[in-house]
Amino acid sequence: MTTNVQDPAMRSGPPPTTPDSDDATIRVRGVVKSFGDVRALDGVDLEAASGTVLGLLGPNGAGKTTAVRVLTTLLKPDAGEIHVAGLDAVRDAARLRERIGLAGQYAAVDENLTGAENLTMVGRLYGMPRSQAKQRAGELLERFDLADAGGRPARGYSGGMRRRLDLAAALVARPPVLFLDEPTTGLDPRSRLALWETIEGLVADGTTVLLTTQYLDEADRLADRIAVIDHGKVIADGTSDELKDRVGGERLEIKLSDGAQAAAVGELLAPMAAEPPFTEDGVVKLAVRQRTGAIVEAVRRLDEAGVGIEDLGLKRPTLDDVFLTLTGHAAEASDDSENGKEERR
């Protein structure tokens, strides 16, 4: 089957076939997965080094969850190669399951079991004897601040507690590679921050994490590298800074005292701009040719023309801008629209 690969050179070299106990890498090449006529994954390449976080960023329906399901052996790919922790996800699926942890979009805990019973069950299904599974459950409850709640059925847990229990369940066997599918969706800001800190702690201990998210700030904060995915394809990847650079350099944003002067201001500042300036919500925005001295020059030009300035600053592009530029649509249709109200191209 033909696969859509962005960079053919990256495919060279045979993948490793022997598992190495230190290997916690993720290598994905040209993975295709269709459901009927829908190509959920259309030639996806991903790469994560040991002990790093790869963020899979995209809107709902982009293929993020399918990617996680294929990488965690829940689905078989139609084509392509997947190596996780040195194991082939198709041929070595059974052994791979011993080396990965998965925490899902919906907290997959048994509500009628207590926190401790949930973790003990998972431990025993990893093949631990009962006593060892119980001990490990105790450690994890302690670590995830659930020790007091460990004896109560999970039904009574808050959303944040369930997510922590779900994450704890994914960590029972101390997997070198962890898959988190939208781990903070639906959490309140405090629980979200706490979960981010937990994930950062895991990474500091050497765990490789693949994380899907539709939140740009989440990818920005946690991910060493980000793959932007849309319609089943990776449309860009790199560090957060690299992606922002792709959208263009820094941008001067000027809020005017009198919005009616916007067009005139655009003309005044045009010589400084790399692209024609545009106006959005009464704010004049322009990509500057040169960062150094840009603010001083803009103030001087406007002052000489007698234009009143309310606010003026240099902004780096956000991941929202990245997403909008790459896909032509905002990451989230409803909110976070401060940068997404207009098509820019």
Binding site: F35, T65, T66, R69, T72, T73, L74, L75, A94, R95, R97, E98, I100, L102, G104, Q105, Y106, A107, A108, V109, D110, E111, N112, L113, E117, M121, V122, R124, L125, Y126, G127, P153, A169
Partner: protein, 255 residues
Amino acid sequence: MRRLVSDTLVIAERNLVRLPRAPDLLLAFTVQPIMFVLLFVYVFGGAINTPGYDYVDFLIPGIIVQNIAFGGFVTALGLNEDLHKGLIDRFRSLPMARPAVLAGRTLADVVTNTLSVCVLVVTGLIIGFSFGTSAGEILAGFGILLLFGYAFSWVFALLGLLVNSPESANSLGFIAVFPLTFISSAFVPVASMPSALRWFADINPFTIVVDAMRSLWLGAPAGNSVWGAVAWSVGIIAVFAPLAVARYRRAAGGR
């Protein structure tokens, strides 16, 4: 293989541990069947003519068979819930034996079925049912009941993995199983039915199993019904267990 056994036991234990925490299910295993026995015996019993037997003797084997066929319903509901709450995904991402989730689920049914058979037999004995056979035959009857119930657990396992919601599992299960139990010898003598229904009732596995129970517990003429009951049960398992396991492997694959 050792892994399959131990994983199955872990899952069975999980399903039994959670049972007392879902009191509505516990009621379904105990109070509901008692209610049906009492209603049938005292409401319909006087109007139904069962030559050679008191109605309570005639009814108890029949209603126990009906009840045990529905015992597997918990499996349909439980698996459907697990599927939608993401637990099946978790299990499938673990290095556990593949059929263990279903084998453990259906094994737990055997325990709950045993409980509800005992509740019904005790209820029956209190309202006048009496065994007419040897201890060995009575035990063999229990064995056939549990085997038949186990077979239906696999039918319900497949159902629970196929449907979209517990509600549709509920209604589909009732639509499929309820007429089967009623157009059989479970509640009335087949001879009293119109000929088309009688034809169906005669080949209905429920009739065969109920007849087997009446021969093992009351001493009614057995014919081939005891072996027929075993053959049907084994046949149902042989068809539905592989189908359910195959479905489980692909479960939730569409999301």
